[in-house]
């Protein structure tokens, strides 16, 4: 730390519950993944290569895709991998789609390690304001670590929290996007303060005329965008898009994971399959 920076004082009041007294300049060298924030592996070398090693800590990653594209499967998979990874962390799994997919989680957990389920903390969020208050309470949980500290937060899914309660009127849209930014700021604050990996899943909507600027992809023959519009797109650091084509080998669906945008990754994609034991990437040559 730079002594000059530490010597200064700040008299600004702060609404944040956990602020530094003085703005501190950090040295980016100490932020390199090798020295501090390890990445969370997806449990598959091909997918990890797509993401340059896995999901980054202190950053919010969105996984968008239509239903049955593998979003929840992927989330359950990383929740079980977190205790075994170099992060050796437990996972806070906030779900809004009821009920929680407990059977799938148990199916994914290796038979020899039933204790892995102990490290998945589950809570249901029924509305957007519910999620905000859950995140405020999570702050306490993260600040007072259990046996394994929580360093993975999953929100599955963000879109279903906003399905109701909001009209299409300009006032409601404004209220809605203010809530996006509040949730995102909270998630990013937790991610930064506790070096958490944050994963948020999102549904897709058909692209309508007049909606511009958002990510667009083809999936199952439809032109789709991640839900919640451009405002939410501003709230995530990395966006992964899961899409599906019907023309896969043997008539099956061909699934692709695409990096739509990320501060540290180029736009690229790879194919993957969903097997009973999880989500795995496919080498292009294997087709």
């Amino acid at each position: 730390m730079r002594p000059a920076a530490a010597a200064a004082s700040s008299r600004q009041p702060s609404s944040s519950s956990c602020t530094h007294q003085v703005p501190r300049a950090e040295n980016p060298l100490l932020l390199l993944p090798s020295s501090r924030a390890a990445k969370l592996s997806l449990g598959c070398p091909i997918l990890d290569r797509l993401l340059s090693g896995g999901l980054p800590a202190a950053s919010v990653t969105e996984i968008a895709g239509e239903s049955a594209s593998g979003k929840t499967q992927l989330c359950l998979q990383i929740a079980l991998l977190a205790p075994l990874s170099p992060l050796s962390a437990s996972c806070l799994f906030l779900h809004s789609d009821l009920p929680f997919p407990l059977r799938r989680l148990r199916g994914l957990a290796p038979k020899s390690r039933p204790d892995l389920l102990d490290h998945v903390l589950v809570a249901a969020a029924h509305s957007a304001s519910d999620l905000v208050s859950l995140l405020s309470r999570a702050q306490h949980l993260l600040a007072h670590p259990r046996r394994l500290p929580v360093r993975l937060i999953v929100v599955d899914s963000i879109a279903s929290l906003f399905r109701a309660d909001f009209d299409a009127s300009p006032a409601d849209l404004r209220r809605r996007s203010a809530l996006f930014f509040r949730i995102s700021a909270k998630l990013k604050e937790l991610a930064h303060r506790h070096q958490c990996v944050v994963v948020v899943t999102n549904q897709v909507v058909d692209v309508v005329e007049g909606e511009q600027g958002n990510t667009v992809a083809w999936s199952s023959g439809r032109r789709v965008s991640p839900a919640l519009g451009l405002a939410w797109a501003n709230c995530v650091n990395t966006r992964l898009f899961l899409t599906r084509d019907a023309d896969g080998p043997g008539g099956g669906a061909r699934r692709r994971m695409k990096v739509a945008f990320a501060p540290h990754l180029p736009e690229r994609a790879c194919e993957f399959v969903i097997r009973r034991d999880g989500v795995f990437g496919v080498e292009p040559s294997e087709r």
Binding site: P23, A25, P28, L29, S59, P170
Partner: protein, 364 residues
């Protein structure tokens, strides 16, 4: 007291004498800019020399005629013009982009850069934080950077990659300089590029205000900072602000403060902004966030947008340059020229857009 007796470094003394400043009287008539030009040194150094000279004059009891102008830093238009011409620009990494910006990002000015998520705002911000550090002998500014991150998109591994790209380009363009300057070789390490970025991660708008208030003090202690980047200025101001008038007041206060800092410390301020959809007359349009009054608070505005599959930058506002647009690319090395761009196409595109607003590109 004579020039030879001034308590300044010997190299400065030699330069002064070589440039014909033989007496204190001659020196006291000079402005910092002129002195910097005559001696080919930094303005900062020239000011230091003049301060010493004024001090020497005072102690002698001589009231130099132009000491007041030295102290207050008053300039005439000629000085301002030559100051502007000698002012350095921060390379964006793309020659096309530098062209429409008149050489690059300007020091002493506030530049706003906006665009949709994934267009490359953060990439450009990181690129500038690296490029500002290109040593003077390689045509850069040799300065340091302050990076205020409000969104958490500053990824150290990407910064490292861009620093490596920058160094490999320097070595490619200056093979001879590099062989000569062994001391320079030691400096050209990605690690040192990273270490010379002062990185602030802030998590709320109150912290953002606090950091900007603190900058004044910080810059006093770190005079070699040549760029301040806020990525993004918007994020924390899009939540929980019911009182829009208050938000406008806070934001214009911030921009005023940043503008002052840019002038006082001879540095560039770059504010990254998000894009939002605006509902007007029954249709949605893309526009930069933070409202109309904010749009007046930056000197320059650059808008990044997709044109098909190519990234383009559009200079939307500038006090001295015409509106223009240029393609750019984000590569492994960072922001660069598009490889496929051929000149004829670019000219055609420029012609198509000149005088037009950027909005029609997005409109239906």
């Amino acid at each position: 007291m004579e020039i030879a007796d001034l308590p300044i470094s010997t190299s400065h003394r030699a330069k002064l004498l070589a440039a014909g400043y033989s007496s204190l009287a001659a020196l006291s008539a000079a402005s910092p800019t002129r002195l910097a030009r005559d001696l080919s040194i930094e303005i900062q150094e020239a000011e230091d020399i003049l301060k010493v000279a004024v001090g020497a004059n005072k102690s002698k009891g001589v009231d130099g005629l132009s000491t007041s102008s030295v102290i207050k830093g008053a300039q005439n238009a000629w000085d301002m013009l030559s100051d502007e011409q000698s002012r350095k620009h921060i390379n964006t990494g793309s020659a096309d982009l530098n062209n429409i910006l008149g050489g690059g990002i300007h020091c002493k000015e506030v530049t706003e850069i906006g665009g949709v998520p994934g267009i490359g705002k953060t990439q450009l911000g990181i690129q500038l934080a690296i490029n500002v550090q290109i040593p003077v002998e390689y045509g850069g500014l040799g300065g340091k950077a302050v990076y205020i991150d409000t969104e958490g998109s500053f990824m150290a591994e990407r910064v490292y990659q861009i620093a490596e790209g920058c160094i490999s380009d320097i070595l490619e363009y200056f093979p001879y300089c590099h062989d000569k300057a062994l001391s320079g070789q030691e400096r050209l390490k990605p690690e040192s590029f990273l270490a010379d970025i002062y990185y602030f991660r802030i998590c709320s708008y109150t912290e953002q205000i606090a950091v900007i208030n603190y900058l004044e003090k910080f810059l006093q202690e770190h005079k070699d900072v040549r760029i301040v980047i806020i990525d993004s200025v918007t994020f924390h101001f899009r939540q929980d602000f019911d009182d829009m008038a208050l938000r406008t007041r806070v934001l214009s206060g911030l921009s005023l403060k940043l503008m002052k800092l840019a002038k006082a410390y001879n540095l560039a301020v770059v504010l990254l902004n998000q894009v939002t959809t605006k509902f007007t007359e029954g249709s949605f349009q893309l526009t930069l966030a933070l409202g109309d009054s904010w749009s007046h608070s930056c000197t320059n505005r650059l808008i990044l947008y997709w044109n098909g599959n190519e990234r383009y930058a559009y200079l939307d506002k500038s006090p001295s340059l015409p509106v223009a647009s240029a393609p750019y690319a984000v590569t492994v090395k960072g922001v660069r020229d598009t490889v496929s761009s051929n000149n004829s196409k670019r000219v055609r595109f420029l012609g198509m857009l000149s005088g037009a607003n950027w909005a029609p590109i997005f409109e239906h």
